[in-house]
Symmetry: C2
Subunit: 361 residues, 2 copies
């Protein structure tokens, strides 16, 4: 299906696959712009996004009837997570534009494909090797080295589907813990810290990046992002340029998160996410146009907005019993709270985040 050129008119509907907090904040951004949102999710009812959407479809990813009805009611389709089944995308993509497009999903759904894509672009990545089973182990260790991290090629997030290898001797057990899933061994990168760039590309090909943020992870989950990151002017330029390179190579439309290791030898791409990204939540209180609005603008065919940063911000995720700190955060000057409408607090569950303004201007 050919892409419409005209920007979607006010009142048009953005279809969103997935109904978690990213979908929720995308739907809120759409509402600000006078656009409607319709989420599709096997658990859309009463979900973070379903609560605040004009329409929500609760149906499995395999329900062709529900998918067709959904597609018929929306003007464009986007998503809040990358692991959408291929058959679902085939059906939806035949009816409506899906933005970001299929190429971005193919690349980011598989860690091996992603690494090869980045390498082909001339970008630095961790050393890596494919691992289809125990027979590949020795060759993979020789190529990627140890220590390292063994990861499933598909369906990993927030540290799930990963096993660390302190030394080569642990490799066999680690591989077994992945239960035979096709895997990739990534050699360890000795980095000073991690930053991420939230980049955006419009339907017209224009590219705009938010200021890189500096990330702190714990137990494989992002805990905080701080802007500005401790980068030199040259590093900042590199980060933005390589993000533009990735966006252009994928003919990308929407917002992408690009995680980068900062090393003495330069920036190393850790991973890319074809969607709005947790490390971009600071933009809600640091910029006139946040990552969620930027993504909606792009997928709606609008010109990209002005994402320049007006404040120094530290974003902190509220995970599990971090919610006990709520009374203190509610009363904290300069703190902007964002909660996701999840009924039940669970260990490791992202319940909300707080953007703290460190300095303005």
């Amino acid at each position: 299906m050919s892409e419409p050129i005209a920007p979607l008119a006010p009142g048009s509907t953005i279809g969103i696959l997935g109904s978690g907090q990213l979908g929720r904040m995308l739907a809120l951004a759409a509402a600000r712009l006078g656009l409607r949102a319709h989420v599709y999710d096997p658990a859309a009812a009463n979900s973070p996004a379903g609560q605040i959407c004009d329409q929500a479809t609760t149906a499995p990813w395999e329900d062709t009837e529900a998918l067709s009805a959904f597609a018929a009611q929306v003007d464009v389709i986007t998503y809040e997570f990358e692991n959408i089944p291929t058959a679902t995308l085939d059906l939806l993509g035949a009816a409506r534009p899906i933005r970001p497009g299929r190429r971005a999903l193919e690349v980011s759904q598989d860690r091996l494909v992603e690494k090869r894509f980045l390498q082909d672009l001339g970008l630095a990545t961790a050393p890596f090797a494919a691992l289809d089973g125990p027979a590949d182990l020795e060759a993979a260790l020789a190529k990627a080295g140890a220590p390292g991290i063994l990861k499933t090629r598909r369906f990993g997030y927030d540290g799930k589907g990963q096993a660390r290898l302190a030394e080569a001797a642990e490799a066999a057990a680690a591989l077994e813990s992945l239960q035979g899933a096709p895997a990739i061994l990534e050699g360890f990168v000795d980095f000073a810290f991690e930053v991420s760039v939230i980049g955006a590309r419009g339907l017209d090909g224009a590219v705009a990046c938010f200021d890189p943020g500096e990330n702190i992870h714990r137990d494989g989950i992002l805990r905080s992002t701080r802007v500005p990151a401790r980068l030199s002017t040259a590093q900042r330029a590199d980060a933005v340029l390589l993000t533009g390179k990735i966006l252009n190579a994928l003919d990308y439309v929407g917002v992408m998160g690009v995680e980068l290791f900062v090393t003495p030898a330069g920036l190393v791409v850790n991973e890319i996410a074809p969607r709005v990204h947790n490390s971009g939540h600071w933009t809600q209180n640091g910029c006139t146009i946040c990552q969620f609005e930027q993504h909606i603008r792009a997928v709606a065919g609008w010109p990209l907005g002005d994402g320049s940063r007006h404040s120094d911000v530290e974003m902190e995720n509220l995970i599990g019993d971090d919610m006990d700190k709520l009374p203190a955060i509610q009363a904290e000057p300069g703190a902007a709270l964002h909660l996701y409408g999840k009924a039940e607090t669970r260990d490791g569950r992202k319940m909300g985040h707080v953007n703290r303004i460190i300095a303005s201007g």
Copy 2:
């Protein structure tokens, strides 16, 4: 009913009377804070607020059954406009806290009561006189003078229910145009410009005001608000202090708009609105916590947030065929667009607004 002391927990529901753009932006702010919104309006279905709310009740203000069901489903009730029938408030107020409270509504629903309230507080107002019919005309003109403005005591907004008097001889015809409604004659105030203060008072009695904005009206409708206003430090302090006085006198909970004339003799209160206010829309892109979130925080019993201003902003209302400018505004750097989801553009209808960042820091 006694007021609960504890702040509403995440997942609680704010009931909102009225489902226009103010209700919409209140509901969006509630969502950011993890609170739900349920709007009640005779025309809630597909309304600006109804589109983005978890729940919407479409029923007349007199429908006691629907009102009771609504009250049972919400934790606290607020409103986006002041002309709610008294019987409706009686019924709802018996079931749930209404914030801001009844006193604020009684005062602001009637221009005469409002003027007397302000005068009793020692605040300057335009000279005024009550006018129950033609027999009062001569005495009213003697007291309030001409030129002036004849206004209905109740149900006026955006210049409706008003007639200007250039001279006393026009008074009889002007009064007739109001079709016998109880009226007030307000003498003309010779002012340099108008500012408004968006003030907030928490359930704990804390008061916080946003920086005063400078307003431009055309045909009785607000066209733009600019911050900072051209006020001296002393005028700025006066504006904030008198707003605090009004909020405290009403034992107010929530956000209030206070319109002030700036005259050589000091600030003159034009009118007060017991709700979020069009002249406070700039706060969405000029402050960490906007007026809508501040109002939700107050009515939910949360501590007030940090409304300090980080940017200079000009807010422009998009009224009627201002919507033709949309393509240009979409592409304008530093412009944040807010659209209300109204399907039909009509003359004089507020369709959205744009906040332009003039300078940051």
